[in-house]
Amino acid sequence: MLKYLAARLLTFVPTFIGVTLISFAFIRLLPGDPIIVMAGERGMTEERYAELSAQLGFDRPIYVQFWEYLTGVLQGDLGQSFVTRRPVWDEFFSLFPATLELSIFAMIFALALGLPAGVIAAVNRGKFFDRALMSTALVGYSMPIFWWALLLIIIFSGQLGWTPVSGRIDLIYYFSNPTGFMVIDAIKSGQEGALASALRHLVLPAIVLGTIPLAVIARQTRSAMLEVLGEDYIRTARAKGLPPLRINGIHALRNALIPVITVIGLSVGTLLAGAILTETIFSWPGIGKWMVDSIFRRDYPVVQGGLLLIAVMVMLVNLTVDLLYGVINPKIRKR
């Protein structure tokens, strides 16, 4: 197990350097001179240009620049945003809780519906329930979520007026945001209606973001369950006279979860890609919207740093899933 862990960590290093290199390269490939973009409409003098160029290190050889970037990254220095002048690192982690909160609720939504749907479909294989659930799942899987978001806004915000269209909380509530998680802060603030408001803002984006994971989880759970239900130990469980709910929900699902959890972990990238669209549509102040805005503003340090941090985030989650795999699969754990 330790050996496996070490080997796994060892492959992490070159991937990390590669990811850094790619995000480093983008700033030099993006069209337009970043310094001129920084100057904006006003333009600048030759001396000022040279000064800034030296300040950003653009006058030195490229490998030196990369080395400095890499060492900077390891110390948590990703440069400053051209637009806000704040360190990219700080901006990322002040916005990250919003994305995390949205992703957690999206995942809860996906799991709460996807796991039972997959189990029910597998148990009723080939029957009406199976077909209905799996057809629905395939529709969800094929859904252009940016359109799905607009559709939900038309129905729930436009026609029914149940949910707000954008933001995280109504403007009448004001409190400082220490944890960054609006739901937790709203509870802490003790203001009446704050939590309800936060949840009402959260529900549509979470549903939109959770739709594709929901479909993936339902499909994966069904196929994993079908495989498990044919195993000998399920027959043993039935021979013990256990009720079907216990056989399907504990004996079979526990085994079926092993491949499903892997799929869930690997869908974190999909989740973050979905967050880009969801946050843009719902004006959700998270990482996804920040990245899109920065791309449009040509805020290169942010694009560069954000790309890197997101990739590292995905890599860390994948690593965790690999390690978690050992925990949920006893066959690996104790060998």
């Binding site: 590669g18 069209p31 057809s135 395939l138 252009p144 915000s157 694009v303 990739a311």
Partner: protein, 301 residues
């Protein structure tokens, strides 16, 4: 003795061709056949779009801006699905939009698959160190969320449909590399490859003639899946303003243009989305059918 011989001959004659056998299994999945028919309709629509579309997709009928579909008050048969804010016919734009989506799908799959298959074959046959380098590079690409990487790539290359297709192809390509390499590694163990090698096949022949045809089944399934992913991602890029640029009647771009009217004119938002959903759904249905028909594990003996 002669009995067994004749039985063998008969068996060979009776054995259905590969295509017939494939069709037999594919036909069992009714959803897949349904998806296939929709896909055929989609392809025909894309092929004959200018002949079918009632209007020029970019012709603006200013007097008829934001007309609802024909079944609603104020709709006319002249514009069966209504008009957009500039008075352009929705139906015509949707029909011509099928062209772009189909084009995106074909080009992306062709580029990503051919590139991915070649790199995957190389990785599968290469010495250990080269294989490791190739796979690490693929890991690096896969560490970025696909849409984000495509978005940044398009920002580098400049927003256009062509650049969006290039970006999506680059992002999808590692999946083909991994898939091809995995099948190559398992096929390479088998005796027929050894016998071909012993018989003196060169490396190139071994790669493309001996091994590749036996790895194709999962790649074909992946092709169907990435066809739909390509359409979805291109539409998402168009929606974010980083794909096809207005006034191109690309479905995602149409949605982006229609966003501000969502609470006033539901049809300008609804129809492009339905078009994307139905197309992607049909392809995914087909993909499921392909997988069931090509995967020998799931075949009934």
């Amino acid at each position: 003795m002669s009995d067994t011989l004749s039985a063998e001959v008969k068996m060979i004659q009776n054995r259905p061709g590969r295509l017939r056998e494939f069709w037999f299994y594919f036909r069992e999945n009714r959803g897949a056949v349904f998806g296939l028919w929709i896909f055929v309709g989609f392809v025909l629509l894309a092929a004959f779009a200018p002949l079918i579309a009632p209007h020029d997709p970019s012709a603006q009928f200013r007097a008829f801006a934001l007309r609802p579909p024909v079944w609603q008050d104020g709709g006319t048969w002249r514009f069966p699905l209504g008009t957009d804010p500039l008075g352009r016919d929705m139906l015509s734009r949707l029909i011509v939009g099928a062209r772009y989506s189909f084009f995106v799908g074909i080009v992306v799959v062709a580029v990503a698959a051919s590139g991915g298959i070649i790199i995957g074959l190389v990785a599968g046959f290469a010495p250990r160190w080269l294989d490791a380098i190739i796979m690490r590079i693929m890991d690096i690409i896969l560490a970025f969320p696909s849409l984000l990487l495509a978005l940044v790539l398009v920002a580098v290359l400049g927003p256009s449909l062509t650049n969006a297709m290039i970006a999506i192809a680059i992002v999808l390509q590692p999946h083909y590399v991994r898939l091809t390499r995995a099948s190559v590694l398992s096929e390479k163990q088998k005796d027929y490859v050894t016998s071909a090698r012993v018989a003196g096949s060169g490396l190139i022949r071994l790669m493309f003639v001996t091994v590749l045809p036996n790895c194709l089944a999962p790649i074909i399934v992946q092709g169907a899946l990435s066809f739909s992913t390509a359409i979805l991602d291109a539409a998402a890029l168009g929606f974010l303003g980083m794909g096809a640029q207005p006034p191109t009647p690309e479905w995602g771009t149409m949605l982006a243009e229609a966003r501000e009217f969502i609470l006033r004119a539901w049809w300008v938002v609804t129809f492009p989305g339905v078009a994307i959903l139905v197309t992607v759904l049909a392809i995914n249905l087909m993909g499921d059918g392909l997988r069931d028909a090509l995967d020998p594990k799931l075949k009934r003996s």
